[in-house]
Amino acid sequence: MQTFEDRLLAELKHVVAANRSATEPRRRARRWTGPRLALAAGAIAAAVGTAVAVPALTEHEQAQANTVERIPDGSIMVRLVEFTHPELVEQKLRAFGVPAKVDFLRFGTQCKGREYDSDFWMSEHPDDGVFGGDPGSDPHADSDMRNAAGARIHPDKLKPGEMVVLDVWFENTKDSSSASVVSPMVKKIGTVPPCVRVPGGPRSGPDGVGG
């Protein structure tokens, strides 16, 4: 007969196994060199813990680069490759019926009152299914988002009055930008005030990978 301790062990072993998976793309990111950066331009940065470098874009290109699209299962996929125009991402999300507040943040800062929680993507049911994979998929990693900076949003799970909040941490280097942490939340009631930046949040690791 299974006890609480047995069930907890099984859950925790999933977490450990997910840690092992999560380290693999992180190592790949370190090895990327010039020619590979071009290949990465259309790729997605990491939702949690992995940096993907993209070539520097002109301001106009940057404004156009982030995409918000509906995918066949009805969910909305946000893919982020530039980090200067959060308001455009908000507009695109609103066009899909998703009220949203998006902030692009430097590592080492966070929005006051919206403290970073690194556990989010490891949740079994993050925010009642608004984010991430479909129910029944691996609860510890959404395969589509494991290598993406952005979020998959299930608008049908949003209740009236709720608002999606995306805090995205990014880093610019001479030749590229990268985002490695996205912290999605659902504001239950009311609007989200403008971000007042305070120290905190995730920090960029030595290889540019946030955590």
């Binding site: 007969m1 609480f4 301790e5 925790l12 977490v15 450990v16 989010f120 949740s123 925010d127 510890h140």
Partner: protein, 190 residues
């Protein structure tokens, strides 16, 4: 090239290594929780969160700084403190594992028995509440959890001599607190 992982740091990535660690300590952790909370659901949450914190912190363990159990109880104290700080906030949805969801009625009964069995420890824990934090932390680990002075020092990241000084002060402070006249304090082992 990455350094090969050894010892406890492996439990972050190796499910088998983690299972060995978990089986060695899960009872101690649930008892730790049962000495501090009187609700089986909260005890289950605390137990789950302690092991999640262990997974995240495994690389910080240094055998030279103390025993596994001292390190583990140090983490457990931090988890419990964090749990209480954020008790009023709606963060449960963001946790990786919510321990209480894993409980069935038999588990609840068993945890209630464990909580009952730890009632003396819980009374002692409550009686320490008004003491200065540094003194209370040392006393808590010795009188409530049965650690030695050296282990308590390791759990708190302080020098053993500092722990001994705090314990000495505590004996004076506690002279009149009947609930704390326990052999664990009077004869605390080094």
């Amino acid at each position: 090239m990455a350094e090969p992982e050894t010892g406890l740091s492996r439990i972050r990535h190796d499910p088998d290594a983690f299972e060995d660690f978990y089986r060695r300590h899960v009872e101690a952790v649930t008892r730790f929780a049962a000495r501090r909370v009187d609700d089986p659901h909260t005890a289950a949450d605390v137990t789950a969160n302690v092991f999640l914190a262990v997974i995240d912190s495994a690389h910080t363990y240094r055998p030279g700084n103390g025993t596994e159990i001292a390190w583990l109880f140090g983490i457990a104290r931090n988890v419990l403190a964090a749990e209480r700080r954020r008790a009023g906030r709606e963060l449960r949805a963001n946790r990786r594992i919510v321990g209480r969801r894993l409980l069935d009625s038999d588990d609840v009964d068993r945890l209630v028995e464990r909580i009952d069995a730890e009632s003396a420890g819980r009374r002692t824990y409550a009686a320490l509440a008004d003491l200065p934090e540094g003194v209370r932390a040392v006393l808590e680990l010795i009188a409530v959890d049965g650690l030695t002075v050296t282990e308590a020092a390791a759990a708190l990241g302080i020098r053993p001599v500092t722990a001994r000084v705090r314990l000495h002060r505590a004996r004076g402070v506690l002279r009149d607190v009947a609930a704390l006249q326990t052999p664990a304090i009077a004869y605390a082992k080094e």
